[in-house]
Symmetry: C2
Subunit: 255 residues, 2 copies
DNA sequence: CGAACGCTTGAGAGGCATCAAGAAACGTGG
DNA sequence: CCACGTTTCTTGATGCCTCTCAAGCGTTCG
């Protein structure tokens, strides 16, 4: 079902960025060209491996991807989740080799484009660069929230923060009024993301359910009163508005 | 003592960025103008408060700063440490109001400049923007390392990772051959940074000391065999080289 | 010299990991 | 469509790591 960000053929990336600024025709055109090639992966496939050269960046067209590091003891740690419309690799663009492995959590379609095409973007579309920069700061803030959750909170609260974060991010492209979260992640993967064992994740789910904060149907989760849960765990959704006051003007548009 | 990044009057920011690219005269000039005003703070002063408007970004000229969030229960969580040459606020540039409080860990001198001056940088110095972007990805990677440490590791290993991270970052501007780390942080603050109580930090220090991995003299710490400790906790220093292949060319230099 | 702060160490409690085993869901091939 | 194997979920029991509480000590600074 609609793990793609929308039913039309509009680019997910354009849809996501349009949420923040009105793209000029030439900006849109540039972004479309970044998504001309597609590649598909099946669940559990590695999209990029640790230490592989990363000549490309890619946009997630449909499906979920997660990046992870493999610990010495065989366990793995999930660094980040990526949803349709997200640009993967932007946050690692300073590295010649991938510091993480990227794996498909579901069936996935991505649109890769070469890092080198960033040169054109940097030279000719400073406003887009500023927007990417601003989006990177959102990602950064999400990371801080997760660090705080893992560092200071109980299992129950960590899980609550993760669910609220996922909901906040999916609402950007997925529409504001979807009551259910469709989590394609096993409880083990969730545990890897928030520093818990699978057993503790399961008990945290049960606790939230018993308290009436969430409802579950298989891997579907409904957060009953998101605002009240967010207040309880001191979570704030920073994904809706960004400060654009410092953006340069859009490049003048050719015909 | 030399908490400033160097004894000369050369800008810390220029010193740090020069480590990565050869700055053109006009790039250097621009960066110097960003550091024309200075402001001093004393230990424990708040440099910017949570929710304060952030019209400025600033460069740390001397001293250490830490950013933190205050939890509902009164505890605080340290999100990031900033050293001389670091640009504070770049990673929060997408927010109109500061999502964190910034406090001085030592006596501090900063050089603030208005966010709005970024417009010029974005329009006219794409290569500098690319460098800032790349540095942001280093910060991001450091964050992932810390997340992994907090999520998966014992108290001892978390402390080891933190010490190795601080060492790696200080070596960029501070020279490669300084055997001692001069930590101006109380054990309580260190605990706030890696999700431990002060008591556990103390015991982790003692354990590393008893094992001969570190030596201590007050708040001075010497890591006895950094490479071997890094291997043990699976830490890699990513701060020395970055991938610049995708950088645009420097803007043509005026006279 | 006294007060405040930070460091150190001990004892006890609690939360999460680990181990283990059974139930449910899923996928696959006959 | 069913049977079987695999994966995932669920729950209980036990143990360990870190937190909390507490007290003593050293240092710094007014």
């Amino acid at each position: 079902m609609s793990e793609t960000c929308n039913a039309t053929n509009e680019s997910c990336l354009v849809a996501k960025l349009s949420h923040y600024i009105d793209l000029t025709p030439s900006e849109s055109r540039l972004l479309e060209t970044l998504q001309e090639n597609e590649r598909d992966f099946r669940r559990r496939d590695a999209v990029f491996r640790l230490d592989a050269e990363m000549p490309d960046i890619f946009v997630v067209k449909s499906g979920w991807i997660y990046s992870h590091a493999d610990n010495l003891d065989g366990s793995e740690y999930i660094a980040m989740l990526y949803f349709p419309g997200d640009v993967v690799g932007i946050s690692q663009v300073g590295f010649a080799r991938s510091p993480l492995t990227y794996s498909a959590a579901t069936e996935v379609t991505i649109c890769p484009f070469p890092k080198l095409s960033l040169q054109v973007v940097f030279r000719e579309h400073p406003r887009l660069v500023a927007l990417f920069f601003a989006l990177a700061t959102l990602e950064h803030a999400g990371m801080i929230d997760r660090l705080r959750a893992i560092g200071c909170m109980s299992a129950r609260d960590r899980l609550a923060v993760l669910l609220l974060q996922i909901r906040a991010r999916l609402r950007i492209t997925g529409g504001r009024d979807q009551p259910f979260l469709d989590l394609p992640l096993s409880q083990e993967l969730i545990g890897n993301a928030i520093g818990l064992s699978m057993v503790s994740v399961n008990r945290a789910f049960r606790q939230l359910e018993d308290e009436g904060r969430i409802r579950r149907e298989g891997r579907r989760v409904e957060i009953v009163a998101p605002e009240s849960l967010a207040a309880e765990v001191d979570f704030s959704d920073r994904h809706y508005a960004i400060d654009k006051s410092w953006f340069p003007a859009a490049a003048h548009d050719g015909p």
